[in-house]
Symmetry: C2
DNA sequence: AGATGATATCGAAACGTTTCGATTCAGTTT
DNA sequence: AAACTGAATCGAAACGTTTCGATATCATCT
C-alpha cells in the first residue's frame, strides 16, 4: 500500500512536504503541491487511519451504543445521528454489547452517544472522568463531560392520561416498564400524578417490562377480570402491540369500544395496527440530531446545556369515548 | 493517559518487557509479569487502539455496510453477525452511507460484510484487489478476496408460485423489485419460469421497487382493474404491507378471499398483519452468522466456498383457495 | 576454570502520520 | 556587496505499540 513515503520518493521531496501538500497547507508552492497531489492520485494513496489517529489523537468517529439491534425502534434515531454527523466530517459506528465498549477507553472514537441501560452510571462517569465526551439518552448524569437529551416523558404520559380522562374513562390500567429504566420511571410518575388529580378514576398498575410479551400478559390479566369497559395505558407501544395480540386473538373484546388502548413511542407497528393505536409521538430523528450536535459541541469544548425532546398526542381509533358518558 | 512507557518507568523495567508481560508472553518471569500487571491495573492502563493497529495492521473490527438503518429488516441479521464475531474477539461496526466506506481503504477494519446496492461491483473489486476481504450478501462477485452468502431466492419464489398455483389461482400478479437488485432479479426469474410451467395461468408483472409505497401503488392498479379473485405475489414483504394498506383502506376487497396476497422475507410487520401474511421465510440470524464465519476464514487465509441460505414457505390466511376450484 | 547454553531483559527499529524548528535560497534592502 | 527578510523545503521527533536481535546473567557441563 502506498504511503506518504512512497509519494515523497517518487516526487523527489521530503515526507513533510508531502504531508503539507496533502493537507492543503499554503507552505508549499502551487506547482509542488500539484505534482504531489497528482502522484498521490496515481498511487491510489489513502492515508492510514491508525497512523493519523495516533498522531492527532482524533478519529472523527462517533460511537452510538445501543442495548441491541433488534426491533424497529432505533432506525430513525440512527438516521438522525448519521445525517447530522456526516455533514460535519464524522462517521458513525453503531455498537452493541459489553465488549464493544472497549472502543471508548482505547480512544478509537472521539465521543459516544449512549442509549443502553446495561451501561452503568458508574462506568459512564469513569469514562467521563478520563475525558471521554458522552451524550446520554436514557438517564440524567451530572458531569462536565456528559450531556443529556431526554424525552419529555412526563408531558407525554400526562397527555395520554388526560386524553383518557377527558373521554370519560374512569377505570384505567397502566402497564408499567422495567424499574431500571429512566423513561419508564418518568412515565409512571406522571401517571400517578395524573391519578391523584382525578380521584374519581380508578388507576390500576400492572407490571410490564417494555417487552411485547409482557404487554400480552398484562392484557390477559385485564381480559380475565373484565367487567366493564376500561382503558389501558401501555407505557410503550411494544407492550401495546402485545396487548393487541391478546385482545384480538384471546378475547372478543373490541379495541376502541370495549377496551381502549393507548401507547407511547409511535413505533411503526403501531401506525400499522388496526384500529390505529393512539400513542405519544416524538421525532426520533430530531432526537438523534440534537444528541449529535451536543456531542460535537462538547468535543469542540463549547458549552452545552441539556435539552428535552417534546412529544405530542396522536389520537387513534384504539381509544374511543367511555360508554358511561355517551 | 497511562501508556506502556509509564508502566515501564514505574516498574523499573524496559518498555519491551512491559509489552511482553501485557501480552502474556512466557519470556518474562512470573514475578516480573505479576508486578507489571499490578502496576498496569493501578494506572488503569488501556492499550491505545491506534498504536496497536498501526503496528499490527489489524484492528479486530469488522464493518457491515448497509444501505440505511431504517426498517426493521436488519435487526436479526446484525444480531447474528454480532453473536458470531464477539465470540471470536472481533467487534462489529455498522456502517451506512457512502462516506463511511473510507474505513475500508483506510485500513480501519479487518474485513467487510456488504448488503448495500449502492456499493458498485467495481468499487468492491477495487478493494478486493488491494487485499481487503469482503463477504457480499446481495450479489455474485468472483474474486479470491470476496465470498458470498446468498439467499435461495429462486427456491423461495418457486415455492410461493407453486403454492398459489396449487390452490387453483390462475390470475397472478407479480409485483417486482428494483432492477438493480440481485435478489429482485433472481425472484423475478423464478416467477417467470414458474409461469412458463403453468401456461393456463395468467401472470401479470407490475413494477415495484421493494418500497412500501410501490406495493400500495401496485395494489391500487390491481384494485382498479379488479374483475374476479386474483392472487398477488409481492416480491418482498415491505410491498405486501403496502398492498395491505391499499386493499383494506381503499377497497372493500377482503384479503384471503377476494384478493390473495403472498410476500417474501417474513418481516415482523408481516407476522403481525391481520390476516397473517403468507410469505417466504429464512433465518436472518443464520445469514449473518455464516457471513461472519466466512469473513473470518478469509482473514485467516483459509479457503471458503460460497454458501446459500435456505428458505421455507409460511402459509397464512392472506392466501386462500381460488373460488373457481371450490 | 573456561566454555556452553538457557533464560530474562533490554535497546532500537518499525508501523505512517503530523508538526516544530532548522536550513536553504532567492529576492530585497541598505 | 553585505546583510537581512521571507518563502519553500527539509530533518527529526513524536504519537504508543510490537518484535527482532543483542546483551547480560547465571547455572551447567566438560
Amino acid at each position: 500500500m502506498a504511503s506518504i513515503k512512497d509519494i515523497a520518493k517518487k516526487a523527489g521531496v521530503s515526507i513533510s512536504t508531502v504531508s503539507y501538500a496533502l493537507n492543503g497547507s499554503d507552505k508549499v508552492t502551487k506547482e509542488t503541491a500539484a505534482k504531489i497531489l497528482k502522484i498521490a492520485e496515481e498511487l491510489h494513496y489513502v492515508p492510514h487511519a491508525a497512523a493519523r489517529l495516533l498522531k492527532k489523537q482524533q478519529s472523527n468517529l462517533i460511537g452510538i451504543f445501543l442495548t441491541d439491534f433488534s426491533g424497529n425502534f432505533y432506525g430513525d434515531l440512527l438516521q438522525g445521528v448519521k445525517e447530522y454527523l456526516s455533514g460535519k466530517g464524522y462517521d458513525l459506528l453503531v455498537c452493541s454489547g459489553e465488549k464493544s465498549r472497549r472502543l471508548i477507553p482505547e480512544r478509537m472514537i472521539d465521543g459516544a452517544i449512549v442509549l443502553d441501560v446495561t451501561f452503568s452510571d458508574k462506568e459512564l462517569l469513569q469514562y467521563a472522568e478520563k475525558g471521554h465526551k458522552t451524550v446520554v439518552l436514557d438517564r440524567e448524569l451530572l458531569h462536565p463531560n456528559v450531556s443529556q437529551v431526554l424525552l419529555d416523558n412526563k408531558a407525554g404520559a400526562t397527555l395520554a392520561m388526560e386524553y383518557l380522562l377527558e373521554l370519560g374513562h374512569d377505570k384505567i390500567y397502566a402497564v408499567t416498564g422495567p424499574s431500571g429504566s429512566y423513561d419508564a420511571n418518568q412515565r409512571l410518575r406522571a401517571v400517578r400524578q395524573a391519578a391523584e388529580r382525578a380521584p374519581h378514576a380508578q388507576v390500576i398498575e400492572l407490571q410490564g417490562d417494555f417487552g411485547r410479551a409482557s404487554g400480552e400478559a398484562a392484557a390477559r390479566v385485564i381480559a380475565d377480570e373484565y367487567e366493564r369497559p376500561a382503558a389501558v395505558f401501555c407505557l410503550n407501544d411494544e407492550m401495546a402491540v402485545g396487548a393487541y395480540r391478546c385482545f384480538t386473538s384471546y378475547t372478543d373484546l373490541k379495541i376502541g369500544e370495549h377496551i381502549h388502548l393507548i401507547g407511547f413511542d409511535n413505533i411503526e407497528l403501531a401506525q400499522f395496527a388496526i384500529p390505529r393505536l393512539a400513542t405519544i409521538d416524538y421525532s426520533m430523528r430530531k432526537w438523534g440530531a440534537i444528541a449529535s450536535e451536543q456531542l460535537l459541541k462538547m468535543i469542540a469544548a463549547q458549552p452545552v446545556e441539556a435539552e428535552r425532546i417534546y412529544v405530542s398526542l396522536i389520537k387513534g381509533e384504539s381509544v374511543g369515548p367511555s360508554p358511561s358518558v355517551k
